[in-house]
């Protein structure tokens, strides 16, 4: 007994204590116990959703600015029929699809070089370039673009030296998409990188030795094997851009609203919490449907559950 280190005896005491509080036969419950905080959080979220659902069924009375006591589907009728919401929804969905496609196209070579390069310095530079914008934040970055792309900004100043311009580079739809792509790129790269890392270099070498040039290797081996990464990155980029608020608000010049901006307007500009709740609910539903569709069609990718297949 004396030969045991003190820490061992300490641990023995602790273990005995734990055994009293949490008997061995309950050990099967441990994983569930650890799940509890997550379940609690999700539960709160669901509770909030119920409240939003309740709100969505009440209309605003503009003589008292209170929500109606009775339920009606009027908000849903308005959300689904009024051209404003149709336009905004169309703009958001089209935008998020374009942003997703372009972001993935740009993220792939970036992630590939970052993962495969033999140069530690290059990898470091790529990583820093990737993470730096994270510390800057969305709003500040968007304002940065206003400064750079504005009528008297860096780009137009440079163009004016060449005798052309100025061009209106901000406050339009392409500017919003550009801002979103720039904001989403790091997310996509970070989601793609593990999927690319999981492809053994040996597999690419094998394809080469079997007669494939690098383009063929990329198309027939790297892309299909990176698919889980594409699915994961695509879903993250799509849902984040679909629900984005700041970039359309700042770079859109007020005329390029996404769904989140329309929701904000209802809650904070017209005080119509019912319609705001309805729009929020419809956005959640549309987003979930989109995600479910992708899951059903191409699997869960790196967001997936269960053990990864080889």
């Amino acid at each position: 007994m004396r030969a045991y280190p003190l820490t061992w005896r300490l641990l023995d005491v602790l273990e005995a204590g734990v055994a009293k509080v949490f008997p061995r036969r309950l050990a099967g419950a441990t994983p569930y116990l650890m799940l509890a905080p997550a379940v609690l959080l999700v539960g709160l979220l669901v509770l909030g959703l119920f409240q939003i659902a309740d709100g969505s069924l009440r209309t605003l009375d503009t003589t008292t600015f209170l929500m109606s006591e009775s339920y009606s589907l009027d908000n849903f009728r308005r959300a689904l029929t009024e051209p404003l919401f149709r336009n905004v929804a169309l703009k958001s969905f089209t935008g998020s699809l374009i942003v997703t496609a372009i972001t993935l196209m740009l993220a792939l070579p970036y992630a590939y070089v970052m993962v495969r390069t033999k140069s530690a310095a290059l990898r470091k530079i790529l990583l820093i370039a990737l993470f730096l914008p994270f510390f800057i934040g969305q709003v500040v970055r968007a304002y940065g673009w206003l400064i750079i792309l504005g009528n008297q900004g860096l780009v137009n100043e440079t163009l004016s030296f060449l005798g052309i311009g100025p061009f209106r580079l901000i406050y339009n739809y392409p500017a919003v998409l550009f801002g979103l792509i720039q904001y989403m790129l790091p997310f996509a790269v970070l989601m793609l990188a593990p999927a690319l890392t999981a492809i053994p270099e040996e597999t690419e070498a094998a394809a080469e030795s079997l007669g494939a040039n690098w383009i063929q290797t990329f198309i027939h081996v790297v892309l299909p094997m990176a698919r889980p990464g594409f699915v994961g990155a695509g879903l993250v980029v799509m849902t984040l851009s679909l629900t984005d608020f700041a970039i359309p608000a700042i770079l859109g010049g007020g005329s390029q609203d996404f769904i989140a901006n329309a929701i904000y307007d209802q809650f904070f500009r017209t005080s119509d919490q019912g319609l705001g709740a309805t729009l929020a609910l419809l956005l959640v539903a549309a987003g979930s449907t989109l995600v479910a569709l992708v899951f059903a069609l191409v699997g869960t990718g790196t967001l997936g559950m269960g053990r990864a297949k080889q």
Partner: protein, 376 residues
């Protein structure tokens, strides 16, 4: 985001004008001893002072003016510090509503708000009655919220949504009509508020309609706004206009004169007019949310009372460049005779005013319609 600016005065233009005229005649009499009324009188039985009171305000030159004119002198008089909460007006509103609904102490003591926004809160019943403020005896009719019982809000000044322009873009003289917005050479170089506030009514006139038809038939307004939409306007909020003028993004905008004046103070050559179709006149006010402890309510009321003194109004509104609700104020030198600083009945002739009841009930629909046009 100070964009909900609607007058509360539910009166015809004529009635308003006669009211201001009569106030003007008594102004000289009461001007002398007015600044100390109220605060001094209350000293006798004043309740316990809180360390500080929280006043919600708009940022930039707005809060600077309030601090210089009202808050600093209030602190000097009472020893109570004033903290300015710069949460946007439209974001503080649901917080206050939630606090009152849950019988919590609200997050602010005094809300500096647009009259329309404040009216919503008053209709909802979350505002304290301010009828017992002593300085209400000496203010103009502009201060009284019409169509509401008592004083759930006190209006503190008025302002005009002018057509602001860059003189260098108008070598042949200033614009005279809102139709200047349709000039092809300004395509992409014009700006409006992002919900169209301040623009709906002049657009109704410019589109060939009548102010009397609001809200029944506003088609002329929507037709005109649709034409403006093809000019690809920038849509923003108060600070955006100042920035856009300064950064050379726009030449022409419908905005509160204060924002244009701010750009001018920063060295940009900006002027403004009230075009021939007229321009919208609005008020802002102060109110107190329900649910404050008794003593804090008392001192919050004293703050508003102090804001109605001539000295406080003079400094505060010099900063904003807006006409106040106390008789005998001296206009800032650069605004004497300016159409955005209406003082005479002649000035008010050119301004469009619509009943606040109509505005509060319809503005959601108007905003929606405006957005639908702009987002298509």
């Amino acid at each position: 985001m100070k964009d909900l600016k609607n007058p509360i005065l539910e009166m015809t233009r004529r009635r308003f004008l006669s009211a201001t005229a009569s106030i003007g005649s008594v102004a000289a009499l009461s001007a002398a001893g007015m600044s100390t009324v109220g605060l001094q009188g209350a000293l006798a039985a004043e309740p316990e002072k809180p360390k500080e009171i929280i006043v919600r305000a708009w940022g930039g030159s707005w809060v600077d003016s309030l601090k210089a004119g009202v808050s600093d002198s209030f602190t000097k008089l009472t020893g109570i510090a004033v903290r300015h909460d710069l949460t946007e007006d439209n974001e503080i509103q649901p917080k206050v509503w939630a606090a009152v609904a849950q019988k919590r102490v609200p997050p602010i003591h005094v809300n500096w708000d647009t009259t329309t926004n404040a009216t919503k809160s008053a209709l909802r019943g979350v505002t304290e009655d301010l009828s017992d403020l002593s300085n209400l005896a000496t203010v103009t009719d502009l201060a009284k919220p019409v169509g509401l019982d008592g004083y759930p809000i006190v209006n503190t000044y008025g302002y005009v949504y002018v057509l602001a322009y860059r003189p260098s873009a108008f070598p042949d003289g200033p614009p005279t009509s809102w139709k200047a917005l349709l000039d092809p050479k300004f395509k992409g170089r014009i700006a409006l508020y992002n919900d169209g506030i301040g623009f709906h009514f002049p657009a109704q006139v410019a589109g060939g309609g009548k102010v009397e038809d609001i809200p029944g038939n506003m088609q002329p307004a929507w037709d005109f706004i649709t034409k403006v939409k093809d000019q690809r306007p920038l849509l923003g909020e108060d600070p955006d206009f100042t920035n856009w003028f300064q950064n050379g993004e726009i030449d022409l905008a419908c905005t509160i004169s204060t924002n244009a004046r701010e750009a001018k103070k920063n060295g940009v050559d900006i002027k403004w007019v009230v075009p021939e179709e007229g321009a919208k006149f609005e008020t802002d006010g102060l109110w107190i949310p329900k649910g404050l402890p008794e003593n804090e309510l008392y001192w919050a009321k004293q703050y508003i009372n102090h804001a109605l003194t001539r000295d406080a109004q003079q400094v505060w509104l010099d900063g904003l460049g807006l006409p106040g609700v106390v008789p005998g104020l001296t206009p800032p030198a650069d605004l004497v005779g300016d159409p955005s600083y209406p003082t005479t009945p002649e000035d008010f002739k050119h301004l469009i005013r619509v009943s606040n009841k109509i505005q509060v009930e319809n503005e959601s629909a108007w905003f929606g319609k405006f957005k639908a046009i702009m987002q298509s």
